[in-house]
Amino acid sequence: MAIQTQPDHHTTELNGDRLREAVRLMLTIRLFDERALALYRAGEMRGTTHPYIGMEAVGVGVMLALRPDDYVTSTHRGHGHTIAKGGDPKRMMAELLGRATGYSGGKGGSMHIADMDKHMLGANGIVGGGMGLATGAALTAKLQHTGAVAVCFFGDGALEQGILHEATNLAAIWKLPVLYVCENNQYAMSARSDWSVAGGDPAKRAAGYGIPGVTVDGMDLFAVHAAAADLLERARRGDGPSYLVCTTYRFHGHHAGDPLNYREREEVERWRQQDPIERVKGAIVERGVMRQDEVDALEQRITQEIEDAVEFAKSSPEPSPDQLMTDIYA
């Protein structure tokens, strides 16, 4: 099957309220993760945090093409996907601080936030860990004829995991309604994807399974959304899985403790010129969907919302020790 690199923009235009919603979500993700980094650096957060900063167009672009009952699996870098799927920043922040009011009651932390009611099947601490889960969710949708599809987000590091091959092969022969979205942010920890991933453009692998593979500019909300909408429509029709590779970049390190000795400052600056939020802000004002002062007011409102989330988290209790041995079995 031919590899498309130019998605058909006009079929799935993002505009009006949906574009305003996209900007709101992207700003929420950015400000949430900046605040999480600050909390970690201030010694107020345990473990670590993996910022999604720079990659917001991918999660939001795909998610705005979904129905509420569609399933999503995420990665260790999961805050953005949870927010974009409608997650509550208060409960997320409380989970980051290990509080009883967090999504997991403090049992999961940053890498294990799920919102099962919203069909967000969790961040995942295992690279490639979501691939089987998303494919299985697609199998439930097919067996129970719900019409839902599943989206599996994964990084370029997971292109090197065996489960991707097994899951793709199975989804292809069973024609499961699943979209595999590779967030190629150029690095798996310190490993550059142009070194660690054989064969060049990962979307080319799709041809080996007889499924579509599309590569888009992952810093362009509109390109991501249009391509995702096409491939999701295909999955919903019953035509099976596909690959969407979004070329993107993480502005910060792998996690909060990254020494960042493996990439040049100039490279980061080049990518920052492509900041997906600045690009959307420009488009939204240019198209007359929002005025600049409205965008500024929105940003202020979200900043306050994130501060409220931090306040909520800090004022929430630690989990009670009697919760230690609960939730192991149903």
Binding site: Y71, T73, G102, Y103, S104, G105, G106, K107, G108, H112, A114, M116, D117, H119, L121, G122, N124, G125, I126, G129, M131, G132, L133, A134, T135, G136, A137, A138, L139, T140, A141, L143, Q144, A150, G162, I163, E166, A167, N169, L170, I173, W174, T326, D327, I328, Y329, A330
Partner: protein, 343 residues
């Protein structure tokens, strides 16, 4: 062999003698009729010889169709991972790993996803998943097709582990496993597939976490897993002639473990043997012994013994395979040693 205790009543006339494999087949068929969310996936579960390399899924595809009896490619990690995702979203998959030896390929989704989703998500997820596999030696399948690996799964919080030894238990436990809202590793034994025993017809379940005293006795408690239950009963019959009475207990489920039944027995006998085909080192028998020591140290009249497999890959030759596995004679000798130590 005794009929499993059945909490839900059935009539006497409905008990027939069938094989362990047929009993499992019946459990699958009944549960799939009862609940449309139940489906089966695995290698050769539909196409091979009418259903499954040991016939456990025989004929199911004819009744339920290829959508619910799903042949998979040879992709163990995907089988376990996809079944986990299906279970977390409202399906009740029964996934088959053809030989437990292949499950190394599927450990990631079992150990890090299925077992932990519920806890990591603060109780918001449930994973009603059954992974069936068969284990054990005795058929000349050599080192990569004969292991007993139940201890791997007992180590992981969040999993349940089931090891039926009789046809009636196989049916009743599989039905309970399918109805359980947790991931259950359901380990069958390849030699036991051909064994026959009385099995109640219809909806008779055996609860998880309840051991069964397969033979009562006053002198030595023997806790056996899979084939070692039958071997212990044979050993007991031999020893009875010498006036030594073994009490043979089948825990039936290793997690959760019915420790009370074992401890009560040891309080009576003062002597304990654990026996399994799994390697002695790091085997679940050691865990059972430690648990009994914790609970009933003062009641023990002699150090507990392990009659388990030698710490060697399972060999091919019949002579070597037999030497690697615990045998009836080993149980007889161990029981005599325990009793004589006391006398």
């Amino acid at each position: 062999m005794a009929v499993a205790e059945a909490p839900s009543a059935t009539t006497e006339s409905s008990v027939r003698v069938i094989t362990y494999a047929e009993a499992l087949n019946e459990a699958l068929r009944e549960e799939m009729r009862r609940d449309p969310a139940v489906f089966v996936m695995g290698e050769d579960v539909a196409g091979w010889g009418g259903g499954g390399v040991f016939g456990v899924t025989k004929g199911l595809v004819e009744e339920f169709g290829a959508e619910r009896i799903r042949d998979t490619p040879i992709s163990e990690e995907a089988i376990a991972a996809v079944a986990t995702g299906a279970a977390a979203t409202g399906s009740r998959p029964v996934a088959e790993i053809m030989y437990v030896d292949f499950i190394g390929l599927a450990m990631e989704p079992i150990v890090n996803q299925a077992a932990k989703l519920r806890y990591m998500f603060g109780g918001k997820a449930k994973v009603p998943l059954v992974i069936r596999a068969q284990e054990g030696a005795g058929r000349g399948n050599a080192a990569q097709h004969s292991q007993s690996l139940e201890a791997w799964f007992c180590h992981i919080p969040g999993l349940k582990v089931v090891t039926p030894s009789t046809p009636a238990d196989a049916k009743g436990l599989l039905k309970s496993a399918i109805r359980d809202d947790n991931p259950v590793i359901f380990l069958e034994h390849k030699v036991l597939y051909f064994s026959k025993g009385p099995v109640p017809e219809g909806d008779v379940t055996v609860p998880l976490g309840v051991a069964d005293i397969k033979r009562p006795g006053r002198d030595v408690t023997v806790v056996g897993i899979h084939t070692m239950v039958g071997k212990a009963i044979t050993a007991a019959e031999q020893l009875a002639a010498e006036g030594i009475e073994l009490e043979v207990i089948d825990p039936r489920t290793l997690v959760p473990l019915d420790l009370d039944t074992i401890v009560e027995s040891v309080k009576k006998t003062g002597r304990l043997i654990v026996s399994h085909e799994a390697y002695t080192r790091g085997g679940y028998g050691a865990e059972i012994i430690t648990s009994v020591i914790d609970a009933a140290f003062d009641y023990l009249d002699a150090p507990p013994l392990r009659v388990c497999a030698r710490n060697v890959p399972v060999p091919y030759s019949a002579a070597l395979e037999q030497a690697a596995l615990p045998q009836v004679d080993d149980l007889v000798a161990a029981a005599r040693a325990l009793v004589n130590k006391e006398r």
